[in-house]
Each structure stands twice: as C-alpha cells, then as structure tokens.
Symmetry: C2
Subunit: 208 residues, 2 copies
C-alpha cells in the first residue's frame, strides 16, 4: 500500500466515495474531468477537491485534469473496492436485517460473511441469504473466514460485550450502529454510526 | 426554546443522545450522577462532558452533580424527545424499509408519517405499518401532516430531484442516506448519513 494512505485525513477519506460515486454516475459522458468540474457538480470547494484527489491520484495534469476512467480506478484502488473485506454482523434486529440485505457494500469490497444473534427466536432464521448463527459460532467463523471487520447492530446494552468478543477474536475495526460508546484497545478502530446523534442535529435545527 | 439551543455545537449535540441513553440505561440505579461518573462510564473527557451538560442543564450542583431524573428530563426536553416531529421517507428500498420498521426513532419524537416511492412495484405495498404512496401524493401529505423532516433513501441518482421536491413542499431538514451530495437553499439543513464514507474510513484502517 502507498504510505499516503496513512496520511489522508478522515474528512478526505469520507469524501472519496462521493467523488467515486459521482464519476461513475457520469457513465463515460466525460472522458476527462477536472477538480473544478467535480467541485461544481458536488457543491464543494474546488481547492479542497483538488487536494483530496491529489492525495490519492498521481494522474492529474495541470490544465488538463484527470482521465475519468483512470481517476475512477485510482479511487477504487485506494478505497479497496477491489479488495475483499470479510465482516461479521452481530445483532439481527431491524437494522441488522437491513444491512444484511443491503447490496451496496459489495461495491466497496465488503462482504458480510455471517450474522450472529443471541436470541433463540432469531438463530437459524435466514436473512439476506444467510442463516443467523449463535454467538458460540463467532470464534470459529472469525478464524476460518479471516474476518477483519465487525458490524454491531445489537441493543446498546449489549454493545460493549459484543465488541469485547469481536476484539477477542482478532477484529481490528468495528462499525458500531448501537447508540452507545464502546471502549476498545489501542489499534482497534471504532466507527460510530449513531442515528440518534444525527436526529439530534436535525431536530435542533427544526426547533430553532 | 432556550437560546442556548442555537449555541450548542454540533459535536455537543451528537453526544447528548449518548448521555441520555446512558442515564436511562442506569434504570434508577444512581439517584445522583456527576459529569465525572458519566465521562468514566462512556470513556469521554470529563471536562467535555461537564461543558456539554452545562450547556443544556441548569440543575448541576458543584460537588453534588446532577439529580439523574432531572438531567434525563432536561436532555429529553432539549432533544425534543417529547415534541412530535413528522417526517416523510422517500425511497422504499432495503434501507428505506429498515428505517420504516425501526422503532428507535419514536424515543426522539420522530414519526415517519408516510413513505413514498416512484416504482409501481413498491407503491401500495405495506411496510412498517404504512402503505407506500406515489410521489404524486407527497405535496398533499406534507401539507396536511405539517411535515418538517424528509428522509432520503432513494438511489443517489434521484437524490437531488427528491430533495428539490421536499424543499418545494416546505421541508426544512433532510436526512440524506443516499451516497451523494445534495444542494439545498439557505435555511435548509442536510444531515448526510453516508455509509460508504464510514466504510472508507474502516477499510483504510484495515489496509494500513
């Protein structure tokens, strides 16, 4: 991997999929594209877009900009779209079921290889083409499928325990959808997807 | 509303539901609670927690801290948990269906009053106890139910068009789950919930 990967800011990282999505949505309509065009299309600052793209692509030419197909490839490489990342999902409630049946993740190389739940009501049922497994199978699956990412859609009261299990089985990144703060050791990344927090921001705007 | 509502930072706003969730999870076990206790439980900086709580609550006492039940009430009031916010959801795919059947939103006063889709395959079907309506009904519903929030779970190619329709019908806040940047007029807030961006951060961590 390029050392630049380490040096890209979180904010840049978050924008890269948006650029990629836009470029793919062009469907070849623009053989060449500039940071300015992308910035205008997405309502972003063109200096920022130029900086973002410069940090992942070496193919930009002054004045000429980027060959669109090359830039798409560079973004896909950088984002690991062509790499395979095996993930497990813990907690098959409404949100868990949705993520299991959501097809968009494969575009980014993510495959949810198995889903787990502690409730006998859910274990054994099928969701997104997968049979929900008991937690006792977690260690075996994590090892046999070289799982590196854990998705937490458990009730928040169970989030820390579930996270501890994942970390214990070697998971290095946790995508936490539970509305709670989880503690993990150094070297493990937690990305919180807290819908309640987003809702708080929206409600506050409406109440003002 | 308190003017402080306007002055609370987005980052503070995002943490408030986490505090509220933690306090409720205590189930009355702690009649009184301090910023230090909350900070330790959530792995946050106690100066930050004290500042966050101070901005929404007047009931904290030096040394004594907060009466837990009072702080819960103050957080619920501030977050509008007891207010009713009517929302419409546009785009009844996997994610749309999940949000429609997700029960957590009512804790924050949000009610999805209707769901819309442009596909005849989906229109008329039931999801989360609601019949999916055609887009032609959007204006009528927004007006009759005083809808203030729009949730976008449409394909990203349709996100801007859908957002424009919502804004045209008086929606002041949009919760955008489509992986695209949408442009809105001054005064309309867009909260992006971009799963692809989160995934980019996680994958990058795993690739390093």
């Amino acid at each position: 991997m390029k050392t630049s990967e380490k040096n890209v800011s979180i904010q840049t990282l978050r924008r890269l999929p948006v650029y990629l999505h836009y470029l793919k949505s062009l469907g070849g309509a623009l053989p060449a594209v500039s940071a300015t065009i992308i910035a205008e299309a997405l309502g972003l600052n063109d200096v920022q877009v130029r900086k973002d793209l410069g940090s992942v692509s070496g193919s930009g030419r002054p004045k000429k900009g980027y060959v669109t197909s090359e830039l798409i490839e560079e973004l896909e490489d950088f984002l690991g779209c062509n790499k395979h990342t095996a993930a497990v999902l813990l907690g098959v409630g409404n949100l868990g079921r949705a993520l299991l049946s959501y097809h968009g993740f494969s575009d980014y190389g993510l495959e949810i290889v198995a889903a787990f739940d502690s409730s006998s009501k859910v274990i054994g049922s099928a969701c997104g083409g997968k049979i929900v497994l008991p937690m006792s199978d977690l260690e075996r699956v994590c090892k046999s499928k070289n799982v590196r990412l854990g998705i937490l859609t458990v009730p928040s009261a169970n989030a820390q325990t579930a996270a501890d299990e994942l970390v214990g089985h070697g998971i290095k990144a946790i995508w936490n959808f539970a509305p709670s703060v989880i503690k993990v050791p150094e070297g493990v990344l937690v990305e919180n997807e807290n819908l309640a927090s987003s809702l708080a921001v929206l409600s506050n705007h409406l109440s003002v």
